[in-house]
Symmetry: C2
Amino acid sequence: MTGTSTPGTGTGTSGTSTGRPRDPAVDRRIAAAAVELFGRAGWAGFSLEAVAREAGVGKASIYLRWSAKEDLLTDALASRLVDVADADTGTLRGDLLRLAHQMLALYLGESSRAAMRMTVEAPSIPGVAQRWDAMRDAQVLAARAMVRRGIRRGEIPDDTSVTMLLDTLCGGVVMHVSSAPGHLRERLVADLDDYAEGLVDFLLGAVHRPG
Amino acid sequence: MTGTSTPGTGTGTSGTSTGRPRDPAVDRRIAAAAVELFGRAGWAGFSLEAVAREAGVGKASIYLRWSAKEDLLTDALASRLVDVADADTGTLRGDLLRLAHQMLALYLGESSRAAMRMTVEAPSIPGVAQRWDAMRDAQVLAARAMVRRGIRRGEIPDDTSVTMLLDTLCGGVVMHVSSAPGHLRERLVADLDDYAEGLVDFLLGAVHRPG
C-alpha cells in the first residue's frame, strides 16, 4: 500500500492533556471498528462519532487523532486490509499462487465487506477516491511485475496478455467467493489451497495454449 | 429473470379514483429512478418517498403500486437490469461470446452501480436477499447450461470445470470493467467486441490445454 500513513506510528504521544503515550491496542480497536462500520453501513452511516461508539472508546480518542472522517477511513483500511503485494518466489506459478491466496484472504477476511463496498462507493467519496486508487494502483503494479518476471524468465510466451491473465485470476477469485452461498462458506475456506492451485494451473494452461 | 413480477403489466388500471389506465411511461420512469437512487445512495437512502422525488412523480403514483420499498426495488431491478439469459447459438464459442457481452452490458450500463451495490448490500436487506439470490441463481443455471451443451457436443473435454470456466469469464469481465479508470471508459466501450473475443478465446485455450 502506498500513499497512506497508518495510525499508531509517529510521535508516540497522543497529545492529550494527561500526556499518556498512544495505546496501540486502542488504535487497533478504532481501525477494526471503522472498517466494520463502513462495511456494514457505508459512507452514509460513517462518522467519527459512530466509529467511537462502535469501538467503545471516548470521542476524544478519535478527535485527537483524526479531524476528518476521510482520513480515519483510509488509515483504517490501509492498516486492516490484506496487503496484496509483490513477492518473488522464484517461479511465476509460485507468485500467482501467492497472489491468489492474498486475493482470497482479502475477499474472505473480516474486512471483505468493506473492500467490496469501497469498490462501489469510493468514486463518490471526495478525499477517499484518490487514496483508494493509489492503493489499488500499487497492487496492480505489483501483480503486473510478477507476470513480467515470468515472461523475462521464459516461463510464458513474450506475447502473453498480462492484463487478461490478471483480470481472470483476480476476477475468478472474486466471483468464486462472492457467488458461494453462506452455508457453503466453511467448505470454501477448507478448500482454498485446492481452489488456488486449480485456478492458477487452469490459467497457465490458457497462456501455454497450442497454436 | 424468475421469481419477479414487473410493474406495468397486469390489470391495466391503477385503481386510482380517476380510473385512468396505468401509464407505462410513468412505470418506466419510476423503475429508472429507483435503480439510479439505489445505485447512488444504497438501501440507507432508499425510500418510496425518495423514489417519487427522484422520478418527479407524485407520492400517490408510488404508493398505489407498491406498499413496501423492498418490492419496488426488486421490481425495478428485474425490469432494468440486463437479463443474463441462456441462448443456444449453436456453438460454445458463440454462447460464451453472448454471455460476455451480456455481462459487459450489465456492468457498463446505466444500472451497473445498482448491480454492484446489490452484491454488497443484498445479504443485509431483509425481503430482498431472497429474490436477488433467485435472480442470480437463474443466471448461473443459464450459464452452466451453455457449457454443458458444449461438453455434450464434444466441443470441450468431458472433465472441463464448468465453474472454473464461468468464474474466470464473468470475473474477468467484472475486473476489466471495474479496474478501468474513468478517463479510459470511452475506449473501453469502443473495444468491447475485441475484448469479449480475446477473453473467450483465452479461456477456451485453457480448456483445451495439452496434457
